[in-house]
Amino acid sequence: MVRSAGAAGLTALAVAGAAAIARQRQRITELVREREQHLAELDHLRTKRLPALAESLNGMSSAPVPGPLWREDGTFASESLAELVDVIERIVRATREHTEHSSQRTLTGVLDTVRGLASEQHMAVSDMQHRHDDADVLADLYTIDHAGSQLSRRLRGFAVLFGAWIGQQRSATSLQDILRGAQSQIRDYQRISVSAYSPSTQGDSVGDLGVITRVVEPLVLLVAELLDNAARYSPPYAQVAVGVQHAHNGVAITIDDAGVGMPLEERRRAERLLSKQEIALDEIGDPPRVGFAVVGLLAVRYGLTVSVDAPPLYGGMRAVVFVPNELLTHIEAADESEVRQETATGSAGDEEQSSRARKRTSGGLPKRSRRTRETTAAQPDSAPPEDSDSAAGLAAWQQASESSSAVSVGENENEDPHP
């Protein structure tokens, strides 16, 4: 009995032992498999995921970064690996952003200094042109002035890329002056033909149109970059034609060149850059080509639309800049106001009446006259303008002082004087 009981106990022990061994064996197999998985996962991380992550972070590839081989949630290994990848990505991104910001700050600082000097030089050349009354000297000054204008355009382009201030604020300016201003700033300005003039007698013509203060400088720069591109991609004897057309809810500035068109690859790049909200420094390329990047950023920032395409049967490229109505204003051309000065004293003819009636244009645009010395001369309690080198200024001042008998010449020229 004792013996059999002992045997039974042994058997039970053996069975239990065997079960334990089997369990352990299974556990070992599991562990081995798990270890193999981990090794495979690590290998996958090392050879596939991290290189792919690096490429995507460097902007070299837009392919998605592959995930882990096994997606068993909750295991220590998968969680810690996922975390590791996250940490790496965060660190790289943060470092990149930091580098980008600090290099942008440095560049903006450097740029400010250079721009200050360039502007000083440009101004000095302008003054010299006024001071020297000699054609040979003028010819030389033209060369310096032209180089200065191009330099200033380049610097403003970089400012746009670095997110810095674009430059001086100008008063509302006619489209014609915008286009000619842009023309001034490119190397081959003599190959550009601008045809923005149309007689203003027909009321709301393109000749009266201008853009509001905020977009003057951006639009000049944008058009200049497109003109530069058009001149660059067309033969040196061909003209680049610039025109302005009324469009639905705005105007379209068209720039046509008779070139061979841009290579497809270049056009793809242009299209990509035109639609970007933000551009990293390393996208500018080496050597840097900033034209379309600047155009794209300016368009997005200021609510303009730009398209560049190669119409079939046409040859060359056509760039169209759409300026919406809300950025447009009416400009009273300088020559028009002079005529008004003349007619106002003598036979105040239809000209004056019609221009009064045009307080709002037929397109519903508000009318705003350009601020010239004629209006500044009519400021409150202003003494007779000392530098009245223009008879128009004097006439405006006289008119203003007659219109309000009170001592203070009205702040609002056409409204009632203060009580």
């Binding site: 002056d177 201003g181 001034s184």
Partner: protein, 120 residues
């Protein structure tokens, strides 16, 4: 001639663009005091804005080159190129006066001098 007024910014449309890069006028008979008068109407669509303004300025009576330059706010040498082109086209004519041919006479100078002395 008074010194040029200091401008606080560069003008948008540069002088070299206005004259198409030409610094030398097509005729060298124009000096600062040459009087200019409009002669015939021109099609504005064929003219540059500066040419249009010059024609309008000179349509009311005669103006000197210096005055035209001041109105256009352009250098006198640039204005000369613009005016010379318009004279070539027949839109403007120079007005030669006795003053310009012979200079002021002695009597007039004496009167001016007397007047200036009387101011003191």
């Amino acid at each position: 001639m008074s010194p040029p007024r200091r401008r606080d910014r560069e003008s948008l449309v540069r002088p070299y663009l206005i004259t198409g890069g030409r610094a030398h006028p097509t005729r060298n008979t124009l000096d600062l005091t040459t009087l200019i008068q409009a002669t015939r109407h021109a099609d504005p669509a064929l003219l540059s804005p500066e040419q249009r303004r010059t024609l309008r300025l000179c349509s009311g009576g005669s103006l000197s080159i210096a005055e035209i330059a001041a109105h256009l706010e352009l250098p006198a040498s640039v204005t000369r190129v613009i005016v010379a082109d318009l004279v070539d086209e027949g839109h403007l004519a120079t007005l030669s006066t006795e003053w310009q041919q012979h200079g002021p006479d002695r009597e007039l100078l004496q009167e001016v001098l007397d007047g200036l002395r009387a101011l003191r």
